[in-house]
Amino acid sequence: MNNSQIDNLLPAVLRLLSTHATDFIVPGVVLACWEIAVRLFNIPRYLLPPPTEIFNLIIAQFPLLFHEAGITLLEAILGFALGCGAAFFTGSFFGVWRLVERAAMPMFVALQAVPLVAIAPLLIIWLGNGLGSKVVMAALICFFPMTINCATGIKNTSPEMVDLMKMVGATPFQLYWKARLPSALPAIFSGLKISASFSVIGAIVSELAGADKGIGYQILSSSYRTDTPMLFAAVFFAAASGIGFYQFVCFIERATFRKMGLTHRE
């Protein structure tokens, strides 16, 4: 990067900082208090390291942590695709056929309340501690909320729209494809957003239950070494992965609604 680029970059960064200045006030104050408290009360660093030390470690260990977070994110994305893909079909099924919905939906709502992460060790026994168990865990944890969201969205298509499709002689598939699915999109996207953060949680929990790589593995192994700064750094990357994936889905959502000519109203 040469000087002129830096010259351009600096005002841009400053502008960004100034427009989002309020966003930084609360975290800034919290971090400052943390730093001061740790130094003032001489808290041992294996209990609570000061933020500056964590920050330095993040910089120093960036390549390693970035790589490990990438592995976790890959597991999460594969699980997300698998879980949401399957849920899309079951959800559509439930949404279109009242009878199927009435028979199966209560079970799904009940299952959604089960803390699925509890079966992570079981998945490790069944599938080993490689990629498979992580992907399946992430997929499972996405599956139920996504199914329920998708089914609700499809089912709640306005009855007038359904009547209209009947009047123009639409086939059941056309009714689904041209009316039900597009009207369900907001519900489907809120399911996808929930699933995006859930899938990262699922992958990490599964890594905690047994893995030899990934951000969950880093969290676990640094806790065994009582390497608290490293543990904090790993947690930071875990959080960043979750937020990043969530924001990506939000971006896709906005782009889709814009392309469909719908203004995105929150």
Binding site: M161, D163, L164, K166, M167, V168, G169, Q174, K178, L262
Partner: protein, 261 residues
């Protein structure tokens, strides 16, 4: 020819009771006629149209649409229905909304058909707009265009011009008359506007309030095509007055019934 014999309909309420909405409607309408239906609000006009459209099935009596059941006629795409609400697809532009019936049937359409329809409904400039960018009246015009574009044998219109101003309504009435005369469709037109009801009709049916029965019928024999000047002639006015009186009595009847209960 559309024949309705002893049509009754009751709606099941949540508490398991039945509420009678239509109680013995009997009429037959020759092919290509325009029937306008007026009656007190909540009387069952929309319900009647929905039965004719094949959207309600649990009626008693017989309904025959050119030799087929309403459901058959619906499935064959012979019925055009303009609902009381516009029911537009928000993710489709005006043009795409009007094209929907063709798209669904997989028919290719002559390129000028949609253009023609946009012109009639004065929506040319808005062809690429999305519904949320339109006013209420414009939305209802899109809904009308969508129902007319396939030239159905039976047209059911449920207060289609309720959201238009007086003169746009007059213009749409003239356009509707023109299209209807060209296609030879049979038309059922529900409205609360008596001038419109008399202007368009071969026959005005006054429904009583719930449960709906035919309270009175009026034949309207003014020559066609009718023009706005017709509304200024005394024969029109006297008929209008009679229709008005009839509707008032039909509504009063309702008030008395309510008081008795």
């Amino acid at each position: 020819m559309i024949s309705i014999k002893d049509l009754s309909f009751s709606q099941k309420l949540r508490d398991g009771k039945h509420q009678c909405i239509i109680n013995g409607i009997h009429c037959s309408v020759e092919r290509g006629a325009c029937v306008t239906i007026i009656g007190p609000s909540g009387g069952g006009k929309t319900t009647l149209l929905r039965i004719l459209a094949g959207l309600e099935h649990d009626y008693e009596g017989a309904v025959d649409i050119d030799g087929a059941s309403p459901l058959r006629a619906q499935e064959e795409g012979r019925i055009g229905f303009v609902f009381q609400q516009p029911v537009l697809f928000p993710w489709r532009t005006v043009r795409e909304n009007i094209e929907l019936p063709f798209e669904v049937k997989g028919k290719s359409l002559a390129s000028n058909v949609i253009g023609e329809m946009l012109k009639i409904t004065a929506l040319e400039k808005y062809a690429s707009y999305h519904p949320y960018q339109l006013s209420g009246g414009m939305q209802s015009r899109v809904a009308i265009a969508r129902a007319l574009v396939t030239e159905p044998d039976l047209l059911l219109l449920d207060e289609p011009f309720a959201d238009l101003d007086e003169f746009n309504r007059e213009r749409m009435n003239l356009e509707l008359q023109r299209i209807w005369m060209n296609t030879g469709a049979t038309m059922f037109f529900v409205t609360h506007d008596l001038v419109e009801a008399v202007f368009l009709a071969d026959r005005v049916i006054v429904l009583s309030s719930k449960p709906a029965q035919i309270y009175q019928e009026f034949q309207v024999n003014f020559p066609r095509p009718r023009t706005p000047e017709l509304m200024e002639c005394p024969e029109f006015d006297s008929l209008l007055l009679r229709v008005r009186g009839s509707l008032r009595k039909a509504t009063k009847l309702h008030a008395q019934q309510e008081n008795c209960l």
